[in-house]
Assembly symmetry: C2
Homo-oligomer: 114 residues x 2
């Protein structure tokens, strides 16, 4: 079962492991959006967008609703936004760690130089 859970998690990560798909998820953050709108806002190729949406749909990250000519997408579970937000914090924490590391190096240079 734990093995299953890890496979499941890996699939979710895999589904999110592309800048374009992250952009799509973030774009859906504030509500339903049609495929066309996504293409326009994110500046994507039509086929490419559709392929990425297929990935997200197949992993149930996104659900689609047909209305006449077009298809509207939305996030199936807003919990995923939490994941992205946690990662944002992670990003900045990593960034500041890198910065202080650089500062350390600067200091050392200064000391050895003298």
């Amino acid at each position: 079962m734990s093995q299953e859970l890890r496979r499941f998690k890996a699939e979710i990560f895999q589904a999110l492991a592309h800048p374009t798909r992250i952009a799509i998820v973030e774009a859906l953050r504030h509500g339903e959006t049609s495929a066309g709108q996504l293409i326009e806002r994110l500046g994507l190729e039509q086929a490419n967008a559709s392929q990425h949406l297929t990935v997200l749909r197949s992993k149930q990250i996104v659900i689609s609703r047909k209305e006449g000519n077009q298809v509207f997408y939305s996030l199936r579970d807003p919990v995923l936004i939490e994941v992205l937000d946690v990662l944002k914090r992670y990003f900045y924490s990593q960034l500041s760690q890198t910065m202080s590391m650089l500062k350390e190096i600067q200091k050392e240079k200064a000391t050895t130089k003298r």
Copy 2:
């Protein structure tokens, strides 16, 4: 910059997008562990384990410390555990949604059958 951030997130997701690497991260959850211990506990091929560890190291998810003959690994930032925990909640929420969907289908079957 937002584009950068998305690339960064995508890389983190990519690094976690494999059951074995998730298992490794979870194993490191409660503290430093040597490569050998990971191999034993998770039942991995030596080369394979090392390859996955390389991926995690290259994305800075994990840091390594050499002590004599062996190499100890630990999580660079425990925030990642949060991500995994959020996903666990997501997993169960999805699971229960699926279950109630199945129940609905059962009910419908029962009604149409009569």
